[in-house]
Amino acid sequence: MADDLEQLLRDARERIQGASLRAALEEARVAILGRNAELTQRLRGIAQLPADQRGAIGKRLNEVRLQIEAAIAEREQQVAARELAEQLERDRIDVTLPGAVVPRGGLHVLTQTRRQIEDIFIGLGYQIAEGPEIELEYNNFTALNIPDGHPAKGETDTLWIAPGVCLRTHTSPVQARTLRAQEPPIYVIVPGRVYRRDTPDATHSPIFHQVEGLVVDRGITLADLKGTLAYFARSLFGADRETRFRTSFFPFTEPSVEVDVSCFLCAGDGCGVCKQSGWIEILGAGQVDPNVLAMVGLDTDEWQGFAFGMGIERIAFLKHGFPDLRLLYDNDLRFLEQFPA
């Protein structure tokens, strides 16, 4: 009887081990543990056994059943693992193939540059002011202390729309608008599109973009302008950049300066971009001319300020080195995609 049972267990184990597919294993389970299987019959027969044998035989039979169930479970795991391994092997693919189509767009290099400039000044607490492109002659020239007869006002430099109305030649008229609209302290920058009567070529465009800056507050000095622009240049071009002021002339600032940053390509040794000087001109600036402040009724002994202006195209050119301004407005994707971020 006992040997008999041991044999059954051995046979069952053998059959289970022999099943290598899920279906075969299921078949084996039915054959060994199913309703008509010998083990099942025997378990059912326990009730007919004499009472003194029931305990021992029943216990033994149940042990065998549990052992078989454990063997099946173990074998199931093995079979599943192998089947998964085979499935994964069948899935093997060249993962270096290109991916599914996800449309890829991007921001224009001028927008990226404009945002970079804006964000640096926003970090210093500035706001962004805006104004119209079709602008009053008064705001574009007169309010900025640019006299009648100045060459910039002529037919050759300015695009005129109507008497007293032109396409703004710089973002500076927003200075005048801001000064009228807002009480100091004023800390603004003004990005925008401007116009000149220039034939398009590699370095000229009838349309280009500037960022103007204007600060009016108590106790604003030329040294404040220098510190602000040095911070700007380092933020934009790298922490090692030096900044220098050269005296210059603009009608709406006095003193006026042009601002150079030490060349970031040659570190000051001289190269083509800095014309061997080690310095690159990045913008014009100065202390707001008292005439400009007085025109909006500010007491120039109480309020001082500075202003600066730069070309976004020029900054973008310095950062990316494209050879021709017109590339910016051709919108050739082969160009646009070169500046993903």
Binding site: A100, I161, R197, T221
Partner: protein, 816 residues
Amino acid sequence: MKVPVSWLRDYVAFDLPLAALAEKLVLSGLEVDRIVTRGAPDVDGNHGTFRIGRVVEWARHPNADRLRLCRVDVGEAEPRQIVCGAANFDTGDTVVVALPGALLPGATEPLRQAKLRGEVSDGMMLSERELQLSEEHDGIIRLPDAYEIGSEARDHFALAETVLEFEVTSNRSDLMCVYGIAREVSALLDVELAPPPGALPEALGRRPTSALVTVSVDAPDRCSRFTARAFDDVRSGGSPLRLRQRVAAAGMRPISNVVDITNYVMLGLGSPVHAYDAAKIPGRVLTARLARDGEELTTLDGRHRVLTTDMLVIADGDGPNGLAGVMGGEGAEIGAGTESVVIEVACFERAGIGRTAAALGLRTDSANRFIRGVDPHLPPQASAWVAELLVAHAGAAMLPKPQDVVAALPARERVVLRTGFAERILGMPIGDDAAVRILDRLGYEPARVDGGVETTVPTWRQLDTTREIDLVEEVGRIHGLDALPATIPARHDRGGGLDRAQRLRRTAEDVLAGAGLHEAYTLSIVDGDQPDRYGLASDDPRRAMVAVDNPLSADYAFMRRTLVPGLLQAVRRNRASGRADVALFEIAHLYHASEGRVTADNLAHEPWTLGAVIAGPLGGTSWVGEGRESDVFSARGVLDALCGRLGVAVRLEPTQLAHLHPGRAARILLGSDAVPAGELGELHPDVAARFDIEGRVAVLELDLDLLAAAVPDRFTHRDISDQPPVRQDIAVVVANDVRAGDVIAAALEAGAPLLVNAEVFDVYRDERRLGPGRVSLALRLVFQDPERTLVEDEASAVRAVVVQALERRFAAELRG
């Protein structure tokens, strides 16, 4: 402005290296373009190998007709034999000789003793061009007899000259001369400045100036000063080598002693000078007056010019003799036969000279200086210097009683500079002593007063320094801006950052780029044919564009009213380079004005606008599959992405627009108020063909100001319901002119509040099964009660209400 350094050193002494001086000048406001050295290299005693020589005898070269065999005394025991190709000299002439070993300008090898056609040449006689003194090369240099034979040439003129080339800003007329730049150097280096050049010689003439000329001014607002001197016994000829050399180095062509002297004085002092042959002044009068209608003149450049009544002329008894301040006339040109000369030094009004020069295209050195402004105190000084030089170099006799017609000269302004104010503006300490020292060097005649310095503005700065702030700049730039500390204003009382509209605009840029579109920048000035090319209807308001009054060309003549044509142009360009998928957007201003009319009282409305075009499969193709071909729903998808991101409800209303596909165009309505804010659709095939674009092109144009206005001011929190939603699908058959958008709206209205969402998930057409003109819309309905769990039966009850409503409103039939 080109300044020979030797000339500069006539007025100011310095031993700073030139590069260091240039840097100081640059930082103080005088841009140095280039530093150029001309002439023989000044290395290893090279300059000592150039000698003054005398031609002892010459004969034709035995083997070459065009060469001369010369014996030239250079102060040695024996004359040297030199072969020379020039023919402009004779025995006894004084010449410049380069000895063997000399390194000539531009040469890489020194000169050697050589055999030329069999004859030894032991040196070289030089022309001005060979020495880079000027462009003159018609023969060798012939010097006056006074030069000592055998002396070194460098004792008499500069064998090498370094020239500083400056860019002078428009406000600094005083820097348009060597003396003015010397004054800057004197201030920057704090060294003495020599008195201005020009010592008036004694008048020797037998007759007064008026015997040759009488000057007058008929247009005092155009001519504030007119001075004249006259000279007899003028020996016309070449000017001294040193003078020729400087005139050439400063960028002008040496011509003759009289003309060179006038140019030399203009370059040196900044006051233009004009010389007349006194015999060629009919009527012996010179009058500054406006030209009369129809008057004509041949100017010194040989060009015949018709004058206008805005042009100032210097007229003689017969009519215009020259163009005042711009260019003289041919009639009174100095020539070889000139014996008596009249010298005009005058001051003309700036803008008038500017108009005349521009009208005639004549930006002469004289005109350039008058346009910037010439110091009205300067003419007597310049005139004295001309006289000194004419007497010295042309043997002239100056006539007594010169003439000077002058309006009241402007009074010199007194300006007080408070040192404390300067320090407050600059943000660095200056001190009274430094302020006084700087202003003194610059000619402001400073005097200390309480708290600062009182100055008298120099006559040459009356145009640009009239106020205290101007003196702040003077003191700051000479003191040195490199000494400025770098500080950042400390401010605490105002917020910063982007405002709402600016923030939303950035979001829009990011959404569009994220949706796969590239941002483009197209030109905002367009040609007048753009509305036709884009196919706008004849009554489309966008045809009324603001015009530019003085366009550069017809291509840049109008301010655009739509962004799409520029983007289509960009699509064409990209398609031409072989790119199938082109998706572009632009965010920019448009320019609205009723009937395109803008006035100073009524400027244009310039809304921020989004334009987008999508052509070809968005994202291109991959082996995995293709991007979706573009059509009206590509534009709709982009619009939904944008409005969804900004929390703005959007509705489309089918419409007809001439430039868009008649069956695939819609007006965009935003927000609960359904504000019309733009249009989308597919480009009309005729328009696409005009832009050479094949296939469907999705187009979207939207007013971003209106979009920003539709964005809710605040997004406030709502509780998220954990109650599970119940989803049920229905399919309804409707006539195919029923709009899906209306069906959805009606369903949501009928199913409220338990029906929280309804979406079309399938559209099915089949004439055989649905009947002609019918379409089946499959809708997914989502029911939810935020408070409790819905059971299917409750959802079904609401669904029945929805179906009833659709049957009633659209004659819809429930399918299946």
